[in-house]
Symmetry: C2
Subunit: 355 residues, 2 copies
């Protein structure tokens, strides 16, 4: 088991048997709740059921569409019905939606009751699990409503990912890749040379990615400044993700971030001299592991409209986190919408270039 200590809690990487059991033994709680969705109830709950006997189950639908205030009200209602009090404990068993929304509901119920995050997707294990950002979507704006609040602990068991489809693994990998690009060049170079997708589930990769995030978050827990570097790829990525949310074939978060990463590194190249060969390497990596998705012309308006709502913006100007070169992030870069359109064109053009 590998332990990454955060200021006020720990991320424990290892078998869930080894991590959850001693934690529950040590904690004094009045009532125990486990939040699952349709997927994690089937695939993940069986692995911890014997450890949480007597727990009350709260079930919600799967998927990002469920991450809204109506489902929050169902969760709060079930906490009420189950007599949750401030000594109760909520275990959020699932991916980013469960963690973000379950944490938001626990963090606001009676002004905050304790919760443990058990992320079960690669994405949530390396990203959402660290940093205390909780929230829900509102009017199609991702994480529009939320708060910062730390869990009691985050338990990361890579074994939960073994049953995930490749698309999900790749989606999570983009955050590991991004953390490497930001602050761990060895991790970045290792991933560029990756042979098979499931290699990324090794504890070493997870721990290094979580460590990058930990160090950034500890320096700036409330995203007053430096933490914004983690948004690399996410400004355009969120716009793309939101746009395709209502389409016949929505993208996974990481797939949208991969598109965002190409676009934003192109902007980094144009504005801050991000090296051409690194840009090419990133494009090759993303074309190898992620699906080709053309962004149609009519999508540009809506995508820019969604980006205009980004939390980082001020005075209606688009704010980006970019890279001068791998390992040298920049924050609060104000970028004109025209350049964003140009970046989308660049991204589309790369799809027709042979690998």
């Amino acid at each position: 088991m590998q332990i990454v200590p955060i200021a006020s809690y720990t991320v424990q990487i290892g078998s869930i048997e080894e991590t959850l059991n001693p934690l529950l033994q040590a904690l004094q709680y009045s009532t125990l709740f486990v939040l699952v969705d349709e997927q994690t109830e089937i695939h993940c709950l069986p692995r911890i059921r014997h450890l949480v006997e007597g727990a009350q189950l709260i079930r919600i639908p799967s998927g990002e569409e469920a991450k809204n205030i109506q489902v929050c009200q169902q969760i709060w209602q079930q906490l009420l019905d189950g007599h949750a009090d401030r000594k109760s404990l909520v275990i959020n068993l699932g991916g980013g939606v469960i963690g973000d929304m379950g944490g938001f509901c626990a963090g606001t119920f009676k002004r905050g009751i304790p919760f443990i995050q058990i992320p079960t997707t690669l994405l949530s294990q390396v990203d959402a699990s660290v940093g205390g950002k909780l929230g829900i979507d509102f009017q199609h704006i991702k994480n529009c409503i939320g708060l910062f609040r730390d869990p009691l602990a985050v338990l990361v068991d890579p074994a939960f990912c073994l049953t995930l489809p490749d698309r999900q693994i790749a989606s999570g990998m983009i955050e590991i890749f991004k953390h490497g690009l930001l602050n761990d060049l060895e991790l970045y170079r290792d991933l560029l040379r990756l042979d098979a997708l499931d290699q990324v589930l090794q504890t070493g990769y997870l721990a290094r990615a979580i460590n990058v995030k930990r160090s950034v978050v500890e320096e700036d827990p409330y995203e007053a400044g430096w933490r914004k570097i983690l948004n690399l790829g996410h400004t355009l990525g969120h716009g793309v993700e939101s746009y395709f949310l209502d389409s016949a074939s929505p993208l996974l978060h990481g797939e949208a971030v991969a598109i965002g990463l190409i676009g934003e590194l192109y902007i980094s190249h144009r504005c801050f001299g991000f090296p051409q060969d690194e840009l090419d390497a990133v494009v090759r990596f993303i074309k190898r592991w992620y699906p080709d998705v053309i962004i149609p012309l009519e999508a540009r308006g809506p995508i820019l409209g969604i980006m205009a709502q980004d939390k980082k913006n001020e005075r209606d100007q688009l704010h980006f986190s970019l890279l001068k070169k791998p390992g040298e992030p920049l924050i609060d870069c104000i970028i004109e919408p025209e350049l964003v359109e140009e970046a989308i064109t660049y991204y589309n053009n790369q799809l027709s270039v042979p690998v």
Copy 2:
């Protein structure tokens, strides 16, 4: 002007001209929002309108019934429509509902944007204004959903109270009285000798009451322990308030707390020897300034049911904050429901005793 510094912000007591203007000059904000209800738009907004030119107005209905998640969604929507970002500023102009709900909405919008509290009722000036407790009601449970978050500043201008009806003044006074009982015996004794209601609007009374709250909150900002003393009178009081909420003649918060105070000091007397003469003095004070409200027999079940949902409870036991004697509070007192019923009987009986 009198300034009470809190750990991370200040409560400024004085003319709103003197306090708000320099603050707005000093702050760098991108957009300004003022949250009002039907009442404060008429009675309070005119006093600050010239200071907040260009601000976007968010209007909500008056009253506790509006303090719900539906109205929150209207506020969030208007913040979205008004292009609020993390550098925006929200001014909550109103009583407890505006402060609690406006603070909750600002504190969760984009994971938290800055806000200033301008409490306009005596109750909110001496109580809700200090301590960072924000929230809304859910399923008739008061403040069931919320969080702790500090405002940028709290501006207290007693002049806002001059247009309030006597019932509102008395409602606010009970919190000053409670703060005296808890930790400022001189304030408590002064109030027992009060001749006219409007005397309580003197800056001195407000500052002393706010100071008691400040010292308690600073010691225990997240209500882990000692801060619970502030709940004196509120456990039974909330039950009574919630019960009458749906009736033809709902009680003001402070009126319900006054009832709760008599009941809980009776319990304090029975369990912890709170002196009989002090109990008599409190009963006389409350009978002098507050309406006689009989609690009918059929109300006892519902009131106890609501109390069972109190945030202080653990393992379904009723937890009270009580008094050994004036100035000596106790927390986490577990009280049987039977004794609460006895306290309600005691309260009812006092109504028929001549002052």
